[in-house]
């Protein structure tokens, strides 16, 4: 009877909301065996997380309702279990790790306490739990494990927090580990480490892994088989190689085609007079040196990508160039005038030339303003740009320019999807007719297909309007598609600076090579080769 460790059969989940019934998952079936890794691939809203929440009994009912189907664990239907038995399964037989380990760890308890709880909840004695917690932290590679037991989640880095989550999830050696976007919030190099750790642990324990992701690269790196979901339906299933090489469903083809990093790289022409010339910018916070002398030139209509891991100083640089933060020393000549020496009045005039698009449009758009208000606010602040009578017309124009329509003017940000919100943010930046837009991880939060569209939009604006971009990103394939020049930063230094081709094809620095090697390629064969190269590099 029990052929598979986990079998999901004809599962349907709906949510009863004020807007009506949303069928989040429709009649999906998949299975998973011991020692195997299955990836559920999909974009936001595809319902890829819903089925795993149903497996973990994490769906709030109401508003959620499982309208049909079975979830069999070793042949026993989890949906029909009495509550106390069902609870016993969580943590003991099935465990889960999540995308954002900071918010998923309780901020007010030590990590030792939280790992011990996983054990004591299922009957372990507290002394034994203490020993085991120490062993687990050591196993997942947390430095100074004994001291770390008494530390709080905020005292760890993002990658370490995910390791703590993994230690906690694996405390009782579950048969199945569900990993919901486990590395999405992490730097590429850290992502590679965490995925490697997961694989090692899987080999040690023989557990099955169900990994939920939007990233074809992650699928290629860790999964044996993959199921693709779109709008609540399972549209394709197969081995990773089959699905990548020979996708059957149009949606899968679209996803694979949209994966960045395959297009022709830009080859910037000869460099003339720079529009922005940054020299020796330094900044420290307390004893921490965030920027240790940054210099670069930016030409009109050119894209300078800034890449590096978190803590490398990328965002600090952006804030300083916009004078949202003051540098300790250095200069930034904008058309010959030093941005850092401008008086507040001069700066106010110059603000319209320099605009910024932030990572999270949900946070950077005021939720109580309509799209019209959001975009036209720029002209309230700089009234000389446009007479009020023309505002409506111009907002409509801008919306069309970013791929939305005039009918969207009266709506509020929450009525749009993530990608549409980012377009609104771009339209807002364009309202001032800037000559430089600084994008701080502007496409990181977007789905792959939307990301491709937004990048295409930015590239069009660059060509048509001659806008220069400083494009801060951790996603190297996106950088490869969009940048003219790439600046690689590490710990406040520029370690490498060159054209996109130079940096991607003939990287000179070990750090750049490590960064490139850590990136995941959506093609399972290429990824397997990369992986072999990386292992060689490490040994």
């Amino acid at each position: 009877m029990a052929d598979h460790l986990l079998e999901v059969r004809n599962l349907s989940v709906e949510f009863h909301t004020a807007m009506g019934v949303v069928k989040a998952v429709r009649n999906i079936s998949y299975h998973l065996d011991r020692g195997e890794t299955l990836a559920i691939l999909g974009e936001s809203g595809s319902g890829k997380s819903v089925s795993s929440s149903a497996i973990m009994n994490l769906i709030d009912m109401p508003p959620g309702r499982i309208s049909s189907g079975e979830i069999l664990l070793d042949g026993v239907d989890l949906l029909k279990m009495p509550a106390h038995k069902r609870r016993e399964v969580n943590g003991r037989r099935i465990a889960m790790i999540f995308q954002d380990p900071l918010s998923h760890l309780n901020p007010v308890y030590t990590v030792g306490w939280q790992i011990r709880e996983a054990l004591t909840t299922h009957g372990a004695a507290s002394a034994a739990a203490q020993t085991e917690a120490l062993r687990l932290l050591t196993r997942v590679g947390i430095p100074e494990p004994e001291k770390s037991l008494d530390k709080y989640p905020h005292e760890f880095s993002g990658g370490q927090r995910q390791r703590v989550m993994i230690a906690m999830a694996l405390a009782l050696r579950p048969d199945l580990l569900i990993a919901d976007e486990p590395t999405t919030a992490l730097d590429v190099t850290v992502q590679a480490e965490v995925l490697a750790l997961l694989e090692e642990l899987q080999q040690e324990t023989g557990m099955a892994v169900l990994i939920i992701t939007h990233d074809l690269g992650v699928v290629a790196e860790v999964a044996d088989r993959v199921v693709v979901m779109e709008k609540g339906e399972l549209v394709e299933a197969g081995t990773v190689r089959e699905v990548y090489k020979n996708p059957q469903h149009p949606y899968t083809r679209k996803l694979i085609a949209a994966a960045p990093g395959k297009g022709k790289m830009h080859s910037p022409g000869a460099r003339g007079e720079p529009v922005l010339s940054v020299r020796e910018v330094r900044k420290h916070y307390g004893s921490f040196e965030a920027l240790k002398g940054i210099s670069f030139d930016l030409m009109p209509g050119e894209t300078m990508a800034v890449v590096g891991e978190s803590g490398s100083g990328k965002s600090t640089l952006a804030r300083i160039l916009l004078r949202l933060d003051e540098p300790d020393s250095g200069s930034a000549l904008w058309k010959g005038r030093d941005l850092f020496q401008l008086s507040p009045a001069e700066l106010y005039k110059l603000r319209r030339d320099l605009q910024m698009v932030f990572q999270d449009p949900t946070q950077s758009l005021n939720p109580r303003m309509t799209v019209y208000q959001l975009i036209s606010e720029a002209w309230v602040i700089h009234p000389d740009i446009l007479p009020k009578a023309k505002w409506r017309e111009r907002v409509a124009e801008l919306l069309v320019q970013v791929g939305l329509g005039p009918e969207h003017m009266g709506r509020y940000p929450h009525q749009f999807s993530g990608g549409q919100r980012q377009r609104i943010a771009i339209a807002r930046a364009l309202a001032l007719e800037p000559q430089l837009i600084i994008c701080d991880e502007a496409v990181s939060a977007l789905d792959v297909s939307v990301q491709a569209q937004v990048i295409a939009l930015l590239d069009k604006l660059r060509k048509d309007m001659g806008i220069a971009f400083i494009f801060i990103a951790h996603d190297l394939p996106v950088v490869r598609d969009f940048a003219d020049h790439v600046m690689v930063m590490q710990k406040g230094h520029v370690v490498e600076l060159g054209t996109v081709q130079e940096v991607f094809e003939t990287p000179r620095q070990d750090y750049t090579r490590a960064l490139l090697a850590a990136g995941l390629d959506p093609d399972p064969d290429v990824q397997a080769a990369n992986r072999a190269a990386r292992l060689e590099c490490a040994s």
Binding site: M56, N90, M96, H104, E117, T121
Partner: protein, 304 residues
């Protein structure tokens, strides 16, 4: 953590010093202190004598220096009505108020946490709606009205409890009961709101994925996080009780600092009023420190 507490202590100390300065100058700004401190019917001679005894003819800064020296050494002068040091009179009353506030707030906190948490756990359910109605009424009902109704019902009609005064444990029931209602209503609402967001947080999801039971999820995982905003409100409510539950104490003839202040103002016993203001201010200063301390105990992120 100590540096956090120290910073907060210095900040509140500044406002305490500000208050001491303000009290002095206000008592001088409102006109002739002799007229303020002495009964209305005092003769010009007596006023003159009063000025000389208390050095009111000296330059203002000299007077201020003397006043600060007195305050620091705890000398607030004599109560004009009771012929005892003003500070003794105030402290005597303050002990009553302190007990009243402490008992009331302990009961309120305990009850509000349990009711608010359970309401949040099944938000929108019957218990939630019932507790919402009760707590909203509680927060809205004026205490003077409630006090009078309580006396009419429990003391006059049912004759279960004494109408006013002190002497037995029974005397405490009505004042505590009446003072309980408003802070309870307010804090239940805050606990509920704060718990709803804590219960829908990501770390609660993790706890559920670990197989933790509902009890510990509510009272261990969510509650400690939810308490942070609640503590601030508890502090505000406790402060208003410490200020002297003026009306309730007066209605129940409860010898606390609120009733003392009203009596002293009516009797123009100004030394007592000044002492009472500074003692309650000091008490609120200490309580704020305790709140900050509790904050730091609950949230490790504040400690660092």
């Amino acid at each position: 953590m100590m540096s956090f507490i120290r910073k907060r202590a210095v900040a509140s100390l500044i406002s305490l010093v500000g208050l001491i300065v303000m009290v002095f100058f206000l008592s001088r700004l409102t006109g002739d202190p002799a007229a303020l401190f002495l009964p209305v019917e005092a003769s010009a001679e007596i006023k003159q004598q009063f000025r000389e005894i208390h050095g009111l003819n000296d330059p203002l800064m000299v007077q201020f220096g003397r006043y600060v020296g007195d305050v620091v050494t705890g000398d607030f002068g004599e109560s004009l009505r009771k012929a005892r040091p003003a500070l003794d009179v105030v402290l005597e009353a303050f002990v009553w108020t302190l007990w009243l506030a402490a008992i009331t707030m302990s009961l309120v906190t305990g009850a509000a946490i349990v009711v608010g948490s359970l309401a949040a756990f099944r938000a929108g359910g019957f218990f939630d709606r019932l507790s919402s109605v009760i707590s909203l009424i509680g927060a809205a009902v004026p205490d003077f009205w409630l006090a009078i109704v309580a006396i009419v019902v429990f003391s006059v009609n049912l004759a279960w409890l004494p109408t006013s005064g002190t002497g037995s444990l029974l005397h405490w029931i009505l004042p505590i009961g009446v003072l309980f209602v408003r802070p309870f209503g307010i804090i239940v609402q805050v606990v509920r709101g704060s718990m709803i967001s804590a219960l829908s947080s990501a770390y609660v999801k993790t706890a559920r994925a670990k197989g933790v039971k509902s009890g510990p999820i509510i009272f261990v995982h969510a509650l400690r996080n939810a308490m942070l905003p609640v503590i601030t409100v508890i502090g505000d409510q406790a402060a208003s009780l410490l200020n002297g539950a003026v009306i309730v104490e007066t209605i129940f003839g409860f010898p606390g600092v609120g009733k003392l202040m009203i009596d002293s103002i009516l009797q123009r016993d100004f030394n007592v009023v000044l002492a009472a203001i500074l003692v309650t201010a000091l008490a609120i200063f200490v309580m704020n420190l305790l709140i900050d301390f509790a904050y730091a105990m609950l949230d490790p992120r504040i400690r660092h």
